[in-house]
Subunit: 370 residues, 2 copies
Amino acid sequence: MFSFHLHHIDACSAARRATFCTPHGAVEMPAFMPVATQGSVKGLELEQLRGTGAQMVLANTYHLALRPGETLVRDLGGLHGFMGWQGPILTDSGGFQLFSLAQISKVTDEHAVFRSHIDGRLLEISPERAVAIQEALGSDVAMVLDHVVELPNQPEIVREATERTVRWAARCRAASRRNDQALFAIVQGGLDVELRVACARQLRALDFAGYAVGGLSVGETPAQMYDILEATVPELPADRPRYLMGVGRPQDLLEAVRRGIDLFDCVMPTRNGRNSMAFTDAGPMRLRNLQYQADPRPLAEGCPCPACRRSRGYLRHLFMAREMLGPILLSIHNLTYYQRLLADARAAIEADRFEDFRRGKLRGWGKDEG
Amino acid sequence: MFSFHLHHIDACSAARRATFCTPHGAVEMPAFMPVATQGSVKGLELEQLRGTGAQMVLANTYHLALRPGETLVRDLGGLHGFMGWQGPILTDSGGFQLFSLAQISKVTDEHAVFRSHIDGRLLEISPERAVAIQEALGSDVAMVLDHVVELPNQPEIVREATERTVRWAARCRAASRRNDQALFAIVQGGLDVELRVACARQLRALDFAGYAVGGLSVGETPAQMYDILEATVPELPADRPRYLMGVGRPQDLLEAVRRGIDLFDCVMPTRNGRNSMAFTDAGPMRLRNLQYQADPRPLAEGCPCPACRRSRGYLRHLFMAREMLGPILLSIHNLTYYQRLLADARAAIEADRFEDFRRGKLRGWGKDEG
């Protein structure tokens, strides 16, 4: 029910043009997934979400398991029926939120004990439970439970968490039952290249349907992140999708595509949009800025999104007047911006001009060559 | 540039089927206008707004004059260009907000002095200024400045305010310059039938393009409101549109249509929607209620709105999880409900079965015969 087709590799980089087929449709890669944390991409109706060009969305297992609970989601038609989104859905495992949003009480090899950020209840999660929850949610792609640690951290702690991540991945693999759900592994290892490579090799031996790079974009410099990708990605099987979790800025996406990443998710387009920041080819615009007060131009010429059928002056007014439509329109614009960026990247890879494309975009954003 | 066509009067009531033509299109009446207070119907993109069946929207002069200012709106294309809404737009005069939201400092025949609710500035408004602001906003229909007083109130105060409303209406009429903007008068008079009738007659003599009944739905009983309508509406010219301002509940709409009202506006469908209340033929539903937690049914069978392509359980989850999509979807549902109610009322009037239609709806809502 799943297949991955690698169509082309860019002549001057490791950028890949591929198609990932799932039970709910194909995903043209490289691809960006909007984040529907609690079963909704904040502020967007499904038609608007489709209108941005989104192919696949991500939902957060941690949030949905706490509220409304995976059993309720399953009973209301699984995530697809629950949300009404009929395209592919990926669920994370909750690993990242466990170690960021929740308060971890104790981690053993058996399981992690944590406090819910909603009501303070003490709960536990094991690799088997993470798979069972995601099977109840019914996503097309499930992620293994990983042990995420803060960075920087003592080498011994990073090593232990990475080794546990591999053991937990094997248990997730053994617990996985649904043949209409693909399971992706997550490479951890902090900023230690050797640890990353070792983790990737061990996970590769376990034969997952796809591979993610996790634990990045958590405070390290972009250069450190790119170095880790450069060392890790070649260790992943070429015939499986490669997913960089939780990243990121437009320049990070292009730098990661250049190094062979196929799939992304990030809250940045929606979160920044809600905070009045719009992505454009000339870099970010802060719509609350007084300079836009009487500006009759759209955010971006040629952008087909509904925000760009209005003036900057109107969009600024919506934010100043605290109208919901401001955050909504900028979320739509930013998601459209990300989707068009990835669509253009796909076309550039097919034409063997990805590096020119990437350099051109970086110039527009005022960024140094990565 | 404006015309009013009265097609049919219901055989058993005063309900009217009419068309009001404006420079931005026709409005089939009876009609309901969603409220775009600050130049946006809260939470709805234009495509969603059109999808509800809305023909004409109302924007608030008081709010827009304070922020972003009518000059900016004019410079950014007038309200139509500013908002992007290409259908008819009506602006109120600010009279109601002056006497509710703002803090009135002093009212003389010359003008009213008030404090902005945004920054406390002392500002003044006169009939001439109210017209000038609305001409800058560029709405299709402008309203005269009226003097609204709290109810109940001393008879002498209500009488004075009503007489001032007539004098101000005459000054608005004289100040009006744009031939692509129709000016509607507003009948005041509190709950005093004689005062209402006298006010209506005086305003009628001034020959306005349309007539509104104002100062209702401010705390009086529904029966009192219906009595005022029953006495006032026959005093309004039959060949002009009749607009009941700020009303109201679905049953109020049908009771007013029955008495010859053609046009409505109210924040109730959007405000209540944001507070998790959905209108249905069986009466209101509060979606936060536990009983809907696992309910797989849509809000209403046969409703074409996007909220009704989801389960009640999902909609409840959105509210419990404080997702923006909950308020958005229920606003869309409620506006769709109001628009379908008015569309069905139009069909019922054409078929001379409005009274049956009204009684059937009231039964469904569990309301006594009005």
